[in-house]
Amino acid sequence: MLDQFDPDVDPTFVSVDRAALIARLKAVLPADGLLTTSEAMRVYECDGLAAYRGLPGLVAMPNTPEEVTGVLIACAELGVPVVARGAGTGLSGGALPFPGCVLLSLSRLYRILEIDPRGMTARVQPGVRNLAISEAVAPFGLFYAPDPSSQLACSIGGNVAENAGGVHCLKYGLTVHNIQSLEVLTIEGEALTIGGAALDAPGFDLMALMTGSEGLLGVITEVTVKLLPVPVHARVLLAAFADVRHGGEAVAAIIGAGIIPAGLEMMDHLALTAAESHVHAGYPVDAAAILLCELDGAPHDVAAEMERVAVERARFWAGRKGAFPAMGRLAADYYCIDGTIPRRRLPDVLEEIQRMSDAHGLPVANVFHAGDGNLHPLILYDANTPGEMERAEALGGAILELCIAVGGTITGEHGVGREKINQMCVQFSEAEVEAFGGIKAAFDPRGLLNPGKAIPTLARCAEFGAMHVHRGAVPFAHLDRL
């Protein structure tokens, strides 16, 4: 499994004197800021992708940006890899410890530093929870738009590192569209201000580069987010479909009619029946698929758009607004995949996923951010059954390669992390992977920040590529390609 790092195809580092490292870190951290025992570090052995586990060398828990600087300087001097971690809710193993690393927990930097209601920004530390921002600015009639489903727990620093999306990003954009500036530390401990107080900054758009860089380029110590006025009115429509293809056509028709809903979510039969038994939302369990369409804005405009949407599909009826249901009750374990595809390929892709599900002998429930083409197939398995985890991993990889084959991408919002490191070699050419490596080296020449994640080594691609044909015709030869 990929939680094992392979010295032949992953980065390697010379081992350091642990006692010397502990002494250096103790000098810069508060008394309770360093964990050294396996028992204490156990909680940090995985993130939201719990199937991948490994202990770090040490866990550093600084209270201030200055202490973060101290940790980075010590690690850079000794050549120790550093894995930054926010709330640990990531789903791609991005915060999986690298062997011998210092796991840098930023959860104690949890302060909201400033709210500027007139300028409509908030300046926060990286450990502030996503939802806590919206809660803090609600008295001003404002909110922070990106709302990943883990928003109760996930931190803004992690959101920036992953360029997190959410249910409403079709209308309000991803994290990159909703932040204004970052304070970042390089691995050498050098402070950089990315972006600024204005809507743009001179030079290259480093904000675009830093957002979604998965902890490979720098450590974020402060984020200034943009705030939006809370929509005065939101309503959700629910439509049921006798087959998935019609659901996909309805999505295209809504967008084609010039309506950008705040959210547009689809669930297939397996997902919606499981959700219904869990939350009793009143979903029509005999449908092959349902579509939830949220419209927001001024009441009269919402009413007008509701009418237009209803004209697009006669079978729409008023449903209920609800949080996207938790899916954890479907099976002993589930593995959430995160590809994006062009919307028009949805019916083909769902049929192909069904075929692959049958071939691998594991059921797949489909939850789909339909408006932006972001698929979340949930592979159901039981980790206690020998071999099922490996089969789930293989099926997941095959689904991602299907997404690439139809002109999509291996990750819409969860990040590459450790999980999709091999599929990076399928989506990108050797020259492209090399370019990513060059960008990484421009920030972190020795590759100490979050090694083995997000950007594969050329050696890994050479090995993985031997089994695959890049952009070639081997997998999914029966599907049209872009």
């Binding site: 743009d200 580069l209 309506i259 994006t340 492209e432």
Partner: protein
């Protein structure tokens, strides 16, 4: 779908020019339509004309995405989108029919709707770019949600061609608003700023707000009824769309000044009065200052409130066009440039000296 655009693929010929320049240690100035030749520091090197590499590769209205070669005239793209009631929501300024998609992306200039809908880079979904070794690299794709690899495609927006030659670009497009109503209110900037404070804090259908010559111009865009209600609430005098076109394409008389500063600051910033004609766009976040004064006082004023100033037009001699970067950031820029263009082939010095 059929397109109105002539189609021609010069990717391999352009790549060969790049490889040749790299071998010879030469420099190339990337040229699209040449309509923004005035922008940035002086061009150095032989011209690499990308305008022949043109044509729409794919346009899927229901996917809200268009992919076209970089030399495609931007006006042709906008006309094609308009046929399907769609648009480029970043409203780039266009300085002539020759203006190309690649030039629009490389310059990274966003129009009046920037504070309401987003910047150029927010709508770039993917690019194919020639690196400094003449290799075609594809970053991003054609889908909105895509976090595989660094966002190198967004990095190309506003990079002034210093990181590579854009070959093709995939853009997110948006539906045109169902109705649009421009209006103007007589008031000074201080009063206008207070009006904008109130409007920006409400979810209202606004897509433009600028102030010039004692008038606050507002552009209301969106669903009919919401626009009508807001117009009724605001009152003022109805205008035509022409003034917004003039603002967008910078043909307002005040924006034609020989020496023109673009001052990018927080919307709410109070800057000292220095004389000179001003147009406050982006609800105050982008201020155009026509001033014959030599020196860089606007830059110092902007820096004092956390912003920056670009000498958009009229720089003389060795004057810096863009606000100089902090040393750490400048060093990082050089390393990034070296990563993608190790021999320094592309547009050397166009953005900063030594970059």
């Amino acid at each position: 779908m059929p397109t109105s655009t002539a189609s021609s693929d010069l990717a391999e010929a352009l790549a060969e020019r790049v490889r040749d320049a790299e071998r010879r240690g030469g420099a190339l100035t990337i040229v699209g339509g040449g309509t923004k030749a005035f922008y940035g520091r002086p061009a150095v090197g032989e011209a690499l004309d990308v305008s022949g590499h043109r044509g729409v590769i794919a346009y899927e209205p229901s996917e809200l995405v268009i992919t076209a070669r970089a030399g495609t005239p931007i006006m042709e793209i906008e006309a094609l989108l308009a046929q399907r009631d769609q648009m480029l929501a970043f409203e780039p300024p266009v300085f002539g029919p020759a203006s190309t998609l690649g030039g629009v992306i490389a310059a990274g200039l966003s129009g009046p709707c920037r504070p309401f809908t987003g910047a150029v880079r927010d709508f770039v979904l993917g690019v194919t770019v020639l690196d400094g070794r003449g290799r075609a690299l594809r970053f991003g794709g054609t889908v909105f949600k895509n976090v595989a690899g660094f966002d190198t495609f967004r990095l190309m927006a506003g990079a002034l061609g210093c990181l590579g030659v854009l070959l093709d670009v995939s853009l997110r497009v948006t539906p045109r608003p169902r109705s649009e109503r421009p209006l103007a209110l007589e008031m000074n900037w201080s009063a206008a700023s207070a009006v904008l404070d109130g409007l920006m804090r409400r979810p209202v259908p606004l897509s433009g707000a600028f102030h010039a010559d004692g008038r606050l111009h507002l552009r209301l865009s969106g669903p009919e009824e919401g626009v009508a209600r807001l117009a009724a609430e605001l009152g003022g005098e109805a205008e035509t769309a022409a003034i917004w076109e003039a603002l967008r394409h910078m043909s307002l008389p005040r924006l034609r000044a020989a020496r023109l500063w673009r001052v990018s600051v927080p919307r709410t910033a109070d800057l000292p009065e220095r004389g000179g004609d001003q147009v406050m766009d982006w609800a105050g976040a982008q201020r155009w200052l026509a001033s014959d004064e030599p020196g860089a006082q606007p830059r110092a004023d902007a820096a004092a409130v956390g912003g920056h100033a670009t000498l958009f037009r009229g720089a003389t001699g060795a004057e810096a066009v863009f606000t100089p970067l902090a040393p750490g950031l400048m060093a990082l820029h050089r390393r990034l440039k070296a990563a993608l263009d190790p021999a320094g082939v592309f547009n050397p010095g166009r953005m900063y000296e030594g970059l």
